[in-house]
Amino acid sequence: MSELISPTAEDLKIVGHHLGRFSRVLSFLLLPPALVACLYSEFNLLPSFLLGFSLSLIICALLEHGCTTERDMELKHAIVVAALLWLMAPFFGSLPLWFSGHYGSFLNSFFESTSGFTGTGLTLTQRADLLPRSINFFRHLLQFVGDGIGIVVISLCILGRTQIGSFLLFKGEAREMGIRPSIVRTSRRIAGIAFTFLILGTLLFTLAGTWEGQKPSDAFFDGLNHSMTAYATGGFSTHSQNLLYYHSFLIEVVALILMILGSLNFNLHYAVLTGRRGEMLRDIEVRFFILSMLIGCLLVGSYLSHSFYPSTLTAFRKGFFHLVSAQTTTGFQTAPGSYIMYLWPVPVLLVLSALMIIGGSANSTSGGIKNLRVGILFKSLLLEIRKTFLPSSAVAGETYYHLGRNPITEVVIRGAAVVALSYLLLLGTGTLITASFGYPLGPSLFESASALANAGLSCGITSPSMPAALKLTYIFLMWAGRLEIIAIFVLFGFILLQLRKALR
């Protein structure tokens, strides 16, 4: 086995420099909420945002200019930068939350910010209705930027660099290529799609909210925020009851549309927008999504109608909404967490957990293993079964349709299996840790799956009073899940090799 190369001082400089450069863009995220604070006469919160912005700017400037290098990133640097960027961004985001005093401790603020940036939606906010509007807007903005667009994508849009390192960093953030030949153009196209749906979603939510009895100004504020988190498949809400606040079928329909749109591959959006509508129905991800949704709906609907809800129609309505929320990894809820934890049958929790772990499409705002990988693994399983019934001289092959017809090769299967296995390992670990704090096994699995898949559905375990060790566990799961785990292993490898070098 060949010797692993330990990182050099130059490697550290490259990482530090690019980390500073990319996170500088993110520090500017703290300014729009300051404007919202002025707009809603929340002047007492201005220092929280200004202090957060100033500290972030200083840290970024020191990193960027303290680690001067001319070299661009290689793959290992890019993955480490992406992994660290996804820690740095929540750190910056946690500063104004902490300074505002609404989250009690820094850990709670960091948890909320991580949940925001990763698009998870698990929240430690108590009484969200009473939060300042600037803080509420900030929480939703974190999800829109972090998960709806992607922090590397937004940095590339603004920095506009087209070096090879940018491409690698893009991959490190678990985004794929393909919309446009240039990485910057692709980033801008992704941002363009996100903003288009943001405008559309805000309009729909505002109209629905006004129709359902809200004041137009409140409906607009809620609509803007829910639109950001629905498209980003994030799940934060301006209300402690989440979407149950509205008691409205219309709001549920708008949320469903945006959640499904957000969970579809950006390439498919682009294909449909450029007139290639057939791509949508042929794609393995869309087919797998529809199939899993149908099976899930049948199971959840029948369990709920037999056990809890007064009519089959009601059970299917509740079931379908939470299924879509789970599989798109959004986390909007129209049922209280205590109902999910204590009253819904355990098989329902298992089905929802499975769908959260499967997740939405690759190269979308969704989390989880992704439909594409699970679809490939499913097809390769069928292929293995078919092979046993074929004569030994026969050559069996299988293909899948995803932006064209592709063969299922050993490499493709291995790639999908590694990610799926990593997810399952972390899910098992998260479940065991949660259960060790005395929570029942079903809810422990559900909450861990929700954190790992960046879903955000909660059965009530996530609360400000939960143990600090569990908060740290979920922060780790959210972070690992957002980066599709492999980047985390690379970062740990980088740190271990550095330590080994230092010990020598």
């Binding site: 500088r24 809603y40 006469s41 929340e42 002047f43 007492n44 201005l46 220092p47 200004l50 202090l51 912005f53 100033s54 500290l55 700017l57 200083i58 970024c60 400037a61 020191l62 960027e64 200019h65 001067t68 009484r127 209705d129 009473l130 939060l131 300042p132 509007r133 359902e212 009895g213 809200q214 409140d218 209300h239 402690s240 009851q241 149950l244 606040y245 509205y246 008691h247 079928f249 809890f308 809800y309 007064p310 009519s311 009601t314 059970a315 309505r317 509740k318 129209t334 049922a335 209280p336 205590s338 109902y339 204590y342 009253l343």
Partner: protein, 159 residues
């Protein structure tokens, strides 16, 4: 003091009878289709034709389905700048209302305002404000200076 005791009891009795909303949400099977009394702060009012939803909160939050005339006296809803009206609601609790898509709710028979809401003043800490503006200026100056230095170093005429 003795004179005020009966008055105090009369005032506190309804509050003591009120069921915590968290109890309804944690053990809904114990209260399903029964008349309950709850107290909570008004989070919002959504008017739907001749009826309205009033969302109230007290530990947990729940929607109250009531006649329009019941909500006419609600003046202040809770937000960052206001403590909302505190209302006492008596009505039938449904753990999964067949009329409202399976939502947990209370169909109100009466809704009384027991405490009128008020505005909360949010003082600006001017010392903190000035410090944050100074730090902001410093951070911008520092990043501009460092950037200039880096550009100079990158220039071929830099010695």
């Amino acid at each position: 003091m003795k004179r005020f005791l009966p008055l105090l009891v009369l005032l506190l009795l309804p509050a003591a009878c009120a069921q915590p909303i968290t109890d309804l949400l944690l053990h809904p099977e114990n209260f399903d289709n029964q008349v309950v009394t709850v107290r909570g702060e008004v989070l919002g009012v959504l008017r739907r034709g001749e009826r309205a939803w009033v969302n109230i909160e007290n530990g947990g939050a729940i929607g109250v389905w009531c006649e329009n005339h019941m909500v006419e006296n609600i003046k202040v809803t809770a937000d960052y700048h206001h403590r909302g009206d505190i209302v006492q609601v008596t009505g039938v609790f449904h753990r999964a209302c067949p009329e409202h898509g399976g939502d947990p709710d209370i169909h109100a028979e009466s809704l009384d305002i027991v405490e009128v809401g008020f505005e909360i003043s949010r003082e600006v800490n001017w010392w903190l404000m000035v410090s944050s503006i100074l730090l902001l200026a410093l951070s911008i100056y520092l990043s501009v200076q460092l950037r200039r230095r880096a550009e100079k170093r990158a220039s071929p005429y830099w010695y």
